[in-house]
Symmetry: C2
Subunit: 324 residues, 2 copies
């Protein structure tokens, strides 16, 4: 047996939190790839998952519940704290909740929370003379969503930000023309035809990490990176240039994200290939073709792009990176 | 930037493999908690996910596909190898495929495959005089399933088994009477009433690891641990004694699994609490009550039980553990 720490945590998943009229996020600098400059936070909604670590081994080994914060109480705790947090970001909220947990329960040593946004979009409604944005009615979106993880650990200094990442999940993008995939290994296991122009359809999760984790949770729009701008960079880069593979594409998206946001250390991709299958490739006299959803299996990639890549590409000067 | 290895892999998911008339698994020793002694393997079916690591950085950074094994070819590779493998376990099959990948592609440094069983159950059919087990018709089960991961890395010696775990996923068990949950922390965040007899309904994933990883992939029934027996131990232990929490329950299941299988090093649990919510607690003159599915959120636990716990409980003598 190793003397390593034993895996031991417990918690609550599907904690749905909806806070109305949260403080708006504004002061966000525009970037060329995105129209996003803020969130009104009229509905600040998320599905959170919380896990605690701490000194409660005997709840497992001795059926001793005296140091068990019931997971039901964890849910109550998070919901009540949603009324006490007055910042404007998921990152700030999770950080706040983690610290309050450590304050209240001295036998808890670390708190990790992941929150997935429950996105609501503005709707246009009839005004007296033209369409207006309703400040009351919102449309629940089943599209890509923001995801954020914060883990705070008890330390000598009080709190230590042990983990922080933010990103976008379940972004589905298709480029109908301008993607290829050829030049790969051809051997006895190869049956795939080369593609010079395929309708590249990808599912993307993009997670990014800051040079200083504290910047992520500071509720400071001058250093905050909104996932919506990262999402829009992905679409812009996809649009701009032909690509030779998903590998090629995600690397370029990563470089652009890091160029736009010097406060970031790295960007991680998890991509899926969902490229349609051709059924009728030529429609005489017309542009286009007929396609269908691909059969399984699906391809995937996992890759991290870091500031060192910008240096390698000559897009940034080498320097000592600042580590949080 | 750290000098740590960069996260970089790619692969294929939802690779469905069905091999008919695979070699049966037999020679499995019965245990008191289980009627399981083998698999006929008439349908050896799985959903596999493969990820490769290796020297293909330039497929990302230079759009150079010359070292890319197309993920489509990975799928072909796995399917063809299913005709070349003649053992009787998922573990043995995955190990075989990983090694063949390293043999064929010298720039690949590691191969990880996870396979989730696609379970098919025997059906009873009318015979001449009594019900018989059909050797031809099988019923696809949507219940719990076997899961197996094998990762093989290129090493000086040729291959190194870098990771191996086996287990059961999505086991749903309810105990209608004999479970309690009380004595936990009561404070301003507590609204949960204590429960002296609750219908404890859990979802369980159980993963186990061997002292010697090689035992898992050796296709040797004398040391092989079938996930079906682990599943049946969970039900037996749940049945036998009253429990004071899920934490208490999974610890006891873990101890029993390790007692039955000295070749295992540890057992990992991921449990979910799906206990029903009471609607009508008393039905005058009758036993029972009326319940409904719980509202979210759900509680969860993550925990590892190791041989050291058996020693702590006086169930096994301390000794130098054998590490693979
Ligand atoms: C279609 N296709 C494969 O089969 N493999 C790969 C890959 O590695 N990258 C791709 O962009 N496409 C693709
Ligand atoms: C109902 N319930 C909670 O709220 N917390 C917990 C816990 O930690 N363990 C349980 O078995 N049940 C439970």
């Amino acid at each position: 047996m190793s003397s390593q720490k034993r895996l031991m945590y417990y918690g609550k998943g599907d904690v749905f939190v909806f806070r109305t009229y949260q403080k708006p996020l504004d002061g966000i600098k525009a970037i060329p790839e995105s129209g996003f400059t803020g969130r009104n936070n009229v509905i600040f909604g998320m599905n959170a998952k919380i896990a605690l670590e701490g000194e409660f081994l005997e709840s497992f080994t001795k059926a001793d519940n005296s140091r068990v914060v019931a997971t039901d109480s964890m849910k109550n705790f998070i919901l009540r704290k949603a009324a006490e947090y007055h910042g404007s970001t998921f990152e700030g909220f999770l950080h706040f909740v983690c610290k309050r947990f450590l304050d209240v329960y001295s036998h808890i040593t670390a708190v990790e929370i992941t929150a997935d946004e429950i996105p609501f979009e503005a709707v246009q409604v009839a005004g007296d003379t033209h369409l207006e944005t309703s400040p009351l009615v919102y449309r629940h979106s089943r599209n890509e969503l923001i995801t954020t993880t914060v883990k705070v650990q008890r330390s000598k200094a009080g709190y230590e930000l042990a983990k922080q990442e933010s990103g976008i999940r379940d972004l589905h993008l298709i480029k109908v023309s301008g993607s290829s995939f050829y030049g790969y290994i051809r051997d006895e296991y190869t049956t795939l035809p080369e593609a010079k122009d395929r309708p590249l359809y990808i599912y993307l999760d993009i997670l990014y990490r800051y040079n200083k984790k504290e910047d992520a949770v500071a509720d400071n729009p001058a250093v905050y990176v909104p996932a919506e701008q990262v999402r829009d960079i992905a679409a812009s880069v996809f649009h701009e240039a032909d690509n030779k593979s998903i590998q090629d594409l995600i690397y370029r998206i990563g470089l652009r994200v890091l160029q736009r946001f010097p406060q970031l250390a790295e960007v991680q991709f998890l991509s899926n290939n969902r490229t349609w299958e051709a059924v009728i490739e030529d429609i005489p006299g017309y542009k286009g073709a007929v396609w269908t959803e691909p059969r399984p299996p699906y391809g995937f990639q996992g890759f991290v792009v870091s500031r060192q890549d910008l240096v390698n590409e000559g897009l940034e000067k080498a320097k000592e990176s600042v580590k949080a």
